[in-house]
């Protein structure tokens, strides 16, 4: 047992942390939003240069990391800084692109010159990962894709989409789903951008008889679900760690506020009722950290074990995030409800993470099902 980071990971964490503390703050996020930018290209480039994207991929795929703990190191710092740059899409889509053997594209992703994302969600799917109605029809040696994908993270900034579509089976079947590599400028692809409540950017992607060479299929026909689930497991790991970082940021802001803010002539942190509630917040954040460690450390395990930890961690993160958000706002008072105070960003991001890839209840039920299997 060893709960220490390797030297390399420790160095990455330190340089990344320093870089973000220098470059990123709530003011930057607000400027980006005011100017309608989804993220800051300079920062994104800087992150790529630091090797943040490379850390997401194994050496085999051209990176220098790829394990759960590599994701952990990167995303805790990103979460703490509250970045908007498209790193999560690289986790969700990148592994699948690597799986397809397209090391050329992975290289571009690692270099930060190509943004790739996963186009999987659909209207009415809620958290059912096998809910796929977008159709993929074979026509000679071509594939024709038709359907609409929702909540595609950084869809409008992506040059490459990994699209899930159904080749056979009914709407909720796991079998029959395939994954396809689709350039965002392919004929028939229409991408409509929107901003999320947490300032991240997402898009609706309409595929209107998009005709591509059948070689864009990743893996075997109708057998994409397993790959997809594994990729989402990595995405959820990244999200959970990001949430942990955001919790740490919220905690730091709140502890500072409790010390600085005076009321009735004393710092509000001297009120015992607030102290004890803050203690519970701190305890639960440690629990969240442990759940995340468990997930990161089991990401390479066989499916059942891995997914049990995915659901355990996502459930824990969802619960603790709500506690952190609601308590940190309450312990602050009105100031925390203003958009110009940084906590509001972390509160929104932490809340929205529960809406991505399954919420507290979804993963609790899934944990029960997986445990019985």
């Amino acid at each position: 047992m060893d709960f220490n980071l390797t030297e390399e990971r420790g160095m990455l964490r330190d340089t990344l942390g320093r870089f973000l503390r220098d470059k990123y703050d709530h003011g930057l996020r607000r400027r980006l939003e005011a100017s309608g930018q989804a993220y800051c290209p300079d920062v994104f480039e800087g992150l790529a240069e630091l090797g943040v994207l490379g850390a997401l991929f194994s050496e085999e795929h051209g990176g220098f990391g790829g394990s759960g703990f590599d994701l952990a190191v990167v995303f805790e710092e990103l979460g703490r800084a509250g970045t908007l740059e498209p790193i999560l899409p690289a986790v969700l889509a990148g592994g699948l692109i690597a799986e397809a053997g397209r090391t050329d594209l992975v290289e571009e992703i690692i270099a930060g010159t190509t943004v790739a994302t996963l186009a999987h969600g659909e209207a009415g799917a809620r958290y059912d990962q096998s809910h796929v109605t977008t159709s993929a029809k074979v026509d000679g040696d071509q594939i024709v894709l038709s359907g609409t994908k929702s909540h595609v993270l950084n869809g409008a900034q992506a040059r490459l989409l990994v699209v899930s579509a159904r080749e056979s089976g009914a709407v909720m079947d796991e079998a029959g789903i395939s994954l396809f590599l689709v350039p965002s400028d392919a004929i028939g692809v229409t991408i409509t951008d929107h901003v999320n409540l947490d300032s991240t950017s997402a898009a609706t992607v309409v595929l209107d008889s998009v005709r591509l060479d059948a070689s864009v299929r990743i893996g075997s026909a109708g057998e994409g679900f397993e790959l997809l689930e594994a990729s989402i497991a990595r995405g959820v790991t990244a999200l959970c760690v990001e949430a942990l970082g955001a919790m740490e940021a919220a905690k730091t802001l709140t502890l500072e506020y409790l010390k600085e803010r005076r009321q009735f002539g004393v710092p509000i942190g001297s009120f015992q009722a607030l102290q004890h509630r803050m203690a519970d917040v701190l305890i639960e954040i440690e629990q969240a950290r442990s759940a995340v460690i468990n997930l990161a450390g089991n990401l390479h395990r066989p499916r059942l074990e891995r997914e049990r930890h995915v659901s355990a961690a996502k459930n824990m993160i969802g619960r603790v995030a709500t506690l952190v958000v609601e308590e940190c706002i309450q312990l602050h008072g009105g100031i925390a409800m203003t958009e110009e105070y940084a906590l509001s960003h972390f509160a929104r991001r932490l809340t929205m993470i529960d809406h991505l890839y399954g919420d507290v209840d979804h993963h609790l039920e899934r944990f029960i099902t997986l445990s019985a299997a």
Binding site: R126, L197, L274, M337, T338, T351
Partner: protein, 398 residues
């Protein structure tokens, strides 16, 4: 012991319900149903309609154009309004300032201001909170120094709800800086057009700008605009706060939100069936429904005592804490129900009219913003922590 409304009360409910069905404009109720934001014109229209019926100033005496309703009648009106998706009444004029003027204003002030509140000439806002004061409401730093027939006001107010629309502001100001905290405060009525006043909207976590900062820079206010005696303003402020707190339970809001939540959960599909049939979600909804059933009765117990003239003590603090928790839980469930569809921030849709299409279900856009907005319930009007302290001090006598 009789749980049920009297025939008279039931007839009153029917009258309210029928009037709402006939008079509430569809465009307004649609905005409420979809959680869209109301414009100044929307509120003004609603106030005008209510005033035409004599229902705008519900707790004023009839001779001043009020409805003279008791607490039970006001409760019934609130429930029916919420269920009909009617806007709420902007409380600052009719519900808050009105009673203060009636109790402590001069005859001239009553004659001048009360009709203007009713006919919509004056939109009022509240100047109580100050930056840095928080729960310590009496920590007022805004000063009003006497200069002949005027006070010269300097300082800052904050969290001024809908102040961007206001013609007038009622303010707590410090007229005797040497006095103890809760003494030396006066209650001033200030025309927002007076030179030296600046209003700065504060954008909140939900993207809305419903509150403002109001800055006073050598603002000259006639002494005649003071309500009651100099340095006795805290008494009037406390009177007002008591009035403010009576409706904080939000039973009407919660009842309407629960209804909307159930209908949403029946529509949203999850795991191949309606979300309402998911055991965990159904349990969460049932739990809050059971809480609300009890809360409704707790509220009626207090309201019924109040309508018989007994003043609510620690009970109103209990109602505030529990009422805010239930409202927060309901809006949290609404947010959860929509899953990923609660993520897009559709500010234009929420601000706009009927011309914009929603991304996802039409009522999903407001779910998460409303959840965030409702965090305020446990903060304003005396934080839930302050209420807990009141409750135990009352019970413990420590």
């Amino acid at each position: 012991m009789d749980l049920h409304y009297t025939e008279e009360e039931q007839a009153f409910r029917t009258k309210v319900r029928e009037w709402l069905a006939e008079n509430l404009p569809h465009a307004l109720s649609e905005k409420i149903r979809l959680g869209k934001r109301l414009t100044k014109a929307d509120y003004e229209l609603w106030h005008r309609l209510l005033n035409e019926r004599g229902w705008l100033a519900q707790n004023w005496p009839r001779e001043y154009g009020g409805a003279e309703w008791n607490a039970v009648q006001r409760q019934i009106f609130e429930e029916e309004s919420c269920l009909a998706n009617a806007p709420h009444i902007v409380p600052f004029g009719p519900t808050m300032l009105g009673p203060v003027l009636l109790a402590f204003g001069s005859e001239e002030q009553k004659r001048h201001y009360l009709p203007r509140i009713l006919n919509g000439e004056d939109w009022w806002c509240q100047g109580y909170s100050e930056p840095g004061a928080g729960s310590d409401l009496a920590a007022i730093k805004t000063t009003a120094m006497r200069d002949g027939d005027h006070y010269v006001v300097n300082g800052q107010k904050t969290w001024t709800t809908l102040g961007q629309h206001a013609d007038w502001i009622f303010c707590l100001v410090r007229t005797d800086p040497g006095a103890k905290k809760q003494e030396g405060i006066s209650f001033l009525l200030i025309d927002m057009k007076t030179p030296g006043i600046t209003v700065r909207p504060i954008t909140l976590i939900d993207g809305d700008a419903e509150v403002n900062e109001v800055f006073f820079d050598d603002v000259r206010v006639p002494v005649a605009n003071r309500v009651g005696e100099e340095n006795k303003g805290w008494t009037y402020a406390k009177y007002l706060l008591t009035h403010e707190r009576t409706n904080i339970t939000g039973v009407g809001f919660s009842t309407a939100t629960l209804k909307a939540l159930k209908s949403t959960a029946a529509q949203v599909q999850s795991g191949g069936r309606p979300l309402s049939q998911n055991p965990l979600f159904a349990a969460r909804m049932a739990q809050v429904e059971i809480d609300l059933m009890a809360m409704t009765t707790t509220n009626l117990r207090v309201v019924s005592a109040a309508s018989k003239g007994r003043a609510p003590g620690a009970e109103s603090s209990m109602l505030k804490v529990k009422g805010s928790r239930i409202r927060q839980e309901l809006t949290s469930l609404m947010r959860r129900a929509f899953g990923p569809d609660a993520m897009p921030f559709q500010n234009d849709y929420l601000e706009g009219g009927d011309n914009l299409d929603a991304l996802g279900p039409e009522n999903a856009a407001s779910a998460a913003p409303t959840y965030f907005n409702m965090r305020k319930l446990s903060i304003f009007g005396g934080t839930n922590e302050v209420q807990r302290t009141i409750i135990t001090k009352t019970m413990l006598g420590l």
